[in-house]
Assembly symmetry: C2
Homo-oligomer: 242 residues x 2
Amino acid sequence: MPKTAAIVIIGNEILSGKVKDENSHFLARELRALGVALKEVRVIPDDLRVIAGVVAESSRRFDFVFTSGGIGPTHDDITMKGIADGFGLGTVTNEKLRELIERRCGHEPSDVVLRMAELPEGAEMMEIEGMSFPPVRVRNVFIFPGIPELLRKKFTAIREMFRCEPFALRCLYVNEEECFIAGALDQVAREFREVEIGSYPKMNETDYKVLVTMESRDPGRLESAFNKLLGLIPREIIVRTA
Amino acid sequence: MPKTAAIVIIGNEILSGKVKDENSHFLARELRALGVALKEVRVIPDDLRVIAGVVAESSRRFDFVFTSGGIGPTHDDITMKGIADGFGLGTVTNEKLRELIERRCGHEPSDVVLRMAELPEGAEMMEIEGMSFPPVRVRNVFIFPGIPELLRKKFTAIREMFRCEPFALRCLYVNEEECFIAGALDQVAREFREVEIGSYPKMNETDYKVLVTMESRDPGRLESAFNKLLGLIPREIIVRTA
């Protein structure tokens, strides 16, 4: 059974344009490679009520939810509390995490720093060998830090648990404007509902004008659809296929 | 009165990781410079019901909505119909647009191409000198293409209409882990509710470990908050201010 996912990026710094979100593109590529259908990305502010509402809604609608950001030691790191609120859960101090924090921040960290050890009730710190601060899971929500290097390392450590039926992909590069192939694409899209067809005009490519992608979980239907399209498009405008 | 905004990025190619969204970061920076508070970015698929639901909801919740993607001539370009559905509006052929399409695509474009000239009832093609295909506006929703070069050009042409009270910004670069300044940040955040304080650890900077940003629409309060923070943090870990 194909799985669906949503990404929730938490952070005022993304919304105010100070930091460019790199995590959603990384996760989108990873999820695609794993066969998981990403259905939504949402970037939201450091606001308890918004985090609670969006994470709980995403958890209901999709199989997996991946959050990024808001789990550090400062006043604006409120992701754990927001997720707990969204599920109607309290928070409890994770003793392992508390020890880690004390080791790193000295023996008398301030209250706001110790809040970093408070996880939603029932949260699981995933077991990963050699990783002192692994990803935290609450129900179908997987909680990651916003720092891209850390998110990549942590996601990579658990990625295989999400693998499901893969997507097959074919590409067609065309040296003509979109409107000249739109009729053919429409015809194939109507006949092959289970094949997803994308058409992407490029302004900065020298040897083609439009990239057409076709994808399906059914490789046989994909080949039929791709061959049908090749038969409908004038040979002289096809630059190459892949 | 400060204005709020949401960005809705429409496109399977972003969700499947084939294309990296560049538009939301560009718009986030522009909106911040204009004084508009961006409250949400949502990336959603080429799906009529999803587009209708998300755009209508965003239109109710925020002052401005900016959409990107899904307005070309192919089968997957369904943004206009989605927005019309979301507002309970029909679509009507825009004759000016139809002429443009016929000029560009030859005199007998296929039906799917001509659909590109169908705009939601009451949609306004904004008047911009020298621009043959200007942004389209429906109520408080501003509709842009997904191609970054075109979106930038079109947004830049109308950006001044969104300008409102600006944000003032101060920065502090610190050469110590976040947990050592978290208490001070928390104290200032509690005292200066109207100042937004961000704390961003960096892993790849050589001369500092954390960037602290403080922002407010009230420059006087911002200076007070910034000076308060400087007084609470040990001088020797401050690398520089800006």
